[in-house]
Amino acid sequence: MKQYLKIALILFAICAVAAALLAVVNAVTAPQIAANALKETSAALMDISGGYDLGEKREGDGNVNYVITLVENKEIKGYVLELTSNGYGGPITLVASYKTDGELIGAKMMANSETPGLGKKSEESWYMAQFVGFGATAPIPTSKNDLADPSLVSGATVTFTGVSGALKNGSEYVKSLGGK
């Protein structure tokens, strides 16, 4: 009995020290991690705003987390949407900006756990550039065969389906807003 108590106590001590250490490191790094995320988001929003000013922020619904209006001279010219979807490595988040008629101005991949070298390519600017200009008269390409060069996304079809589906939903959501 005494033997078991001793063993349990040793394991408890190791766990307690480990937990304390982790708590300290977490306390030091958590504010920095939050600041990084905020900086990344605001930089991404500026990147894809297409030269318009960011207006008010509204609640979204469904796969749209939030909507920010893009304004010029107090007139709504478009919207920035934060969209969620599913990639190969779990949920993905992206921000995308649209003109009021649903045409994609720009998009950026945010949080994701895609495979480095394959789905991770969606973080690069050329990946989203493949969709820019679509959404109004021409629909957002949702099949690899609709792309100018399908080999660019080959090997990461699940990521492509997740991204293109989210962008298409966003375009339809913007159309449903009707410029308001």
Partner: protein, 210 residues
Amino acid sequence: MSHTKELTKGIFKENPVFIIMLGMCPTLGVTTQVFNAIGMGAGVIFVLLCSNIIISLLRKVIPDSIRIPSYIVIIASFVTIVEMVMHAYVPAVYSALGVYLPLIVVNCIILGRAEAFANKNTVLDSALDAIGMGVGFTLSLILIAAIREILGAGQITLINLSESARVIISIPGLKDSPIRVMTLAAGALLVMGYLKALFNWMGDRKAKRG
């Protein structure tokens, strides 16, 4: 065994990837780009060194019956620390390594060295063993990644922190028409198989001669 032997054995004679065949999951998973291999290797060297030192220090304190849970707690703590620090201060590396970073916890090399070496040897030998094994692991990863990236994408990515901080060497000819299967999962298994065969052949030849 001398101290230098502890350090160098991990690089060829007891190479963790090709001879002991430990840590196959990250070996096959992250080796799509040379940069990922370097990042993964650095993470493993750090965690392996810290865990080997701590486990060697505690080898007389930790009773045999609870050694595995103790090792796992120690290893998981170091991995979580690496993850949080990287997330906070080098977010580019953190996002490049993605899901593989937390997987260092279940990397068999780390638990394997704790169980096979650090709990029986002195702190100095354990630290040398960790560095040797870690470097051997990293070099193996870089070798596999280089072969896969050169053949599969026609390039070598040395640094890839952001779109502005990046060093990529392109290989003319292969860049335009790469053998794309090499960057996919099947390519990892192919390269691994051929390299394992090569190492076996070299080992056999050495044994026959000796």
